[in-house]
């Protein structure tokens, strides 16, 4: 449970606002160095894969790769497949939720 929701809201707000707005102020008449952009272009894929890997390979806080005990594994393969084929965030999320509902209903 959260201790101070206002602190959390403001902290999350500032950490989102600064990276969003600062480039627009800094880049009024120039662009970022291409080298910085090239390094930064890897951040989305690496931060998402860090979040995804530490999520789908853990079940109830334990590292677990048995597909019928860790119920997130099979839906995650399906979501990755749909995302690669369709490139539609909403559709892959809906399919993922349906898949996890079936897994929880069938195996939990």
């Amino acid at each position: 449970m959260v201790d101070n929701q206002w602190l959390l809201a403001i902290g999350l707000g500032l950490s989102g606002m600064i990276p969003r707005i600062l480039p627009l102020y800094l880049l009024k008449d120039r662009d970022f160095s291409p080298e910085l952009i090239r390094w930064m272009s890897y951040i989305p894929v690496t931060i998402f894969s860090a979040l995804v890997f530490t999520d789908i390979f853990f079940w109830e806080d334990q590292f677990l790769i048995h597909p019928l005990e860790n119920l997130k594994l099979i839906p995650s393969i399906i979501v990755a497949f749909i995302a690669a084929k369709m490139d539609n965030l909403f559709v892959s999320m809906i399919v993922g939720v349906l898949a996890i509902v079936l897994m929880v209903w069938g195996f939990a």
């Binding site: 449970m1 959260v2 201790d3 929701q5 206002w6 602190l7 959390l8 809201a9 902290g11 999350l12 707000g13 950490s15 989102g16 606002m17 990276p19 969003r20 707005i21 480039p23 627009l24 102020y25 009024k28 662009d31 970022f32 952009i37 090239r38 390094w39 930064m40 272009s41 890897y42 951040i43 989305p44 894929v45 690496t46 931060i47 998402f48 894969s49 860090a50 979040l51 995804v52 890997f53 530490t54 999520d55 789908i56 590292f63 997130k72 839906p75 995650s76 979501v79 990755a80 995302a83 965030l89 909403f90 892959s92 999320m93 993922g96 939720v97 996890i100 509902v101 929880v104 939990a108």
Partner: protein, 232 residues
């Protein structure tokens, strides 16, 4: 004229905004579960406007993570927004500071996609169009999460399923960024390293280290492949 602009923006963003309604409601429900009030959720959505960050907040607070580690992770999650707003900056140059702040604050993965496409393919798409489109999506998100917070405890969806919405979102965003071999290697490096570091340190900040190291690996490979091209 502005009325026409607003209508054009609405047409281009309406499907994004519609998809925000169920997601926003689910996110509001998830945030209510960790003890936030509808007012707190509304404030958070107005300030943060991030589906990824807000879902992450609910699942990490649920797992007992500290506020500092969540804010640090959100900073790194939001670095992708720096890439987005800097790539759009050429189209909004010369606008007032307030315009730029509003435009930056209301940029999200999906609105960026729409705006980039329109700026590149539609000669009539103006900076105002882009801001209107952003604002429509932003307000839809804010209201939907607030509504989710109001509904909150009235629905009884298992937390496993609510949290999996975030997982599915992150998998889709990850896959969407796997645009070449160096990105796949960077992603795998970061993912595997994150698991190892998390098992050792039991701390979510491990994810940030894994992402930074993975990014340097991708960047270095990228440099090497460029050299090979130059020398060969």
């Amino acid at each position: 004229m502005e009325r026409k602009n607003l209508l054009d923006s609405f047409q281009k963003i309406v499907f994004v905004a519609m998809s925000y309604i169920p997601l926003g409601i689910a996110c509001g429900i998830a945030l209510e579960r960790i003890g936030m009030t509808p007012g707190g959720i509304l404030t958070m959505s107005l300030l943060a406007f991030t589906g990824a960050g807000q879902f992450m907040t609910s699942s990490m607070i649920g797992a007992g993570a500290s506020v500092i580690s969540i804010i640090t992770l959100n900073l790194f999650l939001s670095l992708r927004m720096s890439l987005m707003t800097s790539s759009l900056s050429q189209y909004v140059r010369g606008r007032s500071k307030i315009f730029l702040a509003l435009f930056g604050q209301t940029t999200a993965d999906e609105t960026y996609g729409v705006n980039l496409y329109q700026f590149e393919h539609n000669p009539e798409w103006s900076a105002n169009n882009a801001l209107y489109a952003n604002l429509i999506a932003y307000l839809t998100w804010v209201v939907s999460t607030w509504a989710g917070g109001m509904i909150g405890g009235a629905v009884n969806i298992p937390t496993t399923i609510i949290n999996y919405l975030m997982t599915a979102m992150f998998i889709s965003l990850m896959v969407g960024n796997l645009v070449s071999k160096t990105f796949i290697i960077a992603g795998l490096t970061s993912g595997i390293l994150a698991i190892i570091l998390k098992l050792i340190f039991q701390n979510n900040l491990a994810l940030v280290f894994a992402a930074v190291i993975g990014s340097f690996v991708g960047y270095a490979l990228d440099n090497r492949s460029k050299e090979v091209v130059l020398n060969g």
